[in-house]
Symmetry: none
Subunit: 274 residues, 2 copies
Amino acid sequence: MPNVLSHGQFETVYNFLSLVIASMLFTALFLLVSLPRVLPRYRQAITVAIVVCGIATYHYFRIFNSFTSAFVTPSVGGTGDYSQATGAGFNEGYRYVDWLLTVPLLLVELIAVLALARKVQRHLLVRLVPAAALMIALGYPGEISGDNGLRGLFGLLSTIPFAYILFILFTELGKSLEHQPAAVRGTLSRLRFLLLLSWGVYPVAYLLPLLNLSGADAWVAKQVGYSLADILAKAVYALIIFQVAKMKSYDDDPAFAKVELPTGEPLAPAPTHA
Amino acid sequence: MPNVLSHGQFETVYNFLSLVIASMLFTALFLLVSLPRVLPRYRQAITVAIVVCGIATYHYFRIFNSFTSAFVTPSVGGTGDYSQATGAGFNEGYRYVDWLLTVPLLLVELIAVLALARKVQRHLLVRLVPAAALMIALGYPGEISGDNGLRGLFGLLSTIPFAYILFILFTELGKSLEHQPAAVRGTLSRLRFLLLLSWGVYPVAYLLPLLNLSGADAWVAKQVGYSLADILAKAVYALIIFQVAKMKSYDDDPAFAKVELPTGEPLAPAPTHA
């Protein structure tokens, strides 16, 4: 962590952290209010999405407070830079505690919205959840280490469970997608790419300190990268899951669709068993 | 309690306490939102689980604040150690007040989800609840005593009601399990082992100061041990109770199962009276 941030660097991190709080909190509230808009069998997926955004809200409040305590503004007439006034520093640990809880839950969310047979669901979860937890746990020692070699090593180790998760999502889960209604098959398939894209931002942000950027620039870019990746991987992802749950609800039950959809609206794209 | 914690020791306790807050708070919220996912006759068990996680959230906020007030950071350029700057110290009493309320309720939760005949339920509760309260009350004098002999003595006394609780769970409760639906019998049986495992962490953490670890290491390990045990014994336990309540709901009422389960899903494992 740098000892000094310029005024612009401080404001950039400050505003991004606040943006994440607003995104997470109100995605959670939106989904909470919208829960009756999907059939009961899809509410577990949406409830998990609410919990994920809620946990992230809690941690971003903590991260925001940790950041504003760690860096303080100089007295009037000072240089305008923000420097570390206390020895407390910024607690990067909040991010890892957050990811340890939320990243496995993001996979639970995806599996839950598919509403697979219990046996298939269990088969996927016992593979995906431990791999996700391991991926986060292996990243932490590199993150807190000041040494770039250790950062690279643990980053590499953490990539092994990540690759395994992608393998499961694109092979075993791919088979299950064929049994999903036609209307959501495309969305679900794209959702895996959103997951790949947003989860891919984390390792890039993680490895920024290895580049020849100045300490403060790399650190600010890392905070912005983690913040944007969290919004994509949790809030935007949750809204797509909600969309899938709605479309599947209409497909499952034409009476529900009739109540929920605008009058005269034909059932979305092509219902498979209407 | 140690007078000085290293930066790493301080951060370890700090992040574990925050992890417990997030786990308890969002398990409580998850269950609150999910209450309609079980039949009314199982909602008492889930409501007690929500209350238990809520009480723990409250106490962990208190514990977190007590910890960060007790240990303060040095000025910039200091050694990086955290030392006790005030005479206030850390209030271990919060944990015992928490356990005095929540540990008897954890047993109420278990009995409630079984949905036994009222007479059997009363028979079990009048034995389990006072034993649980006594177990906690007997541990406290040892905890606050600086003397290892007293700590050992009260630890031993506290084990007597603990052994009695296990005896009831594995004999009298065992008989009731035979009348539970086949689908949940295994889960309920394993739940007793989770209880034994997670409750078993407390005496280990309690007795750490008796080992030849340095004061600060033993104290940090004790805080981490209590935190992990609380997550297992309250949050993970509550989620398993919720799972049992869902499975029993599906077993009791096929119409409810039809609404809640994926379309075309046969009733979970093997319904006993389908």
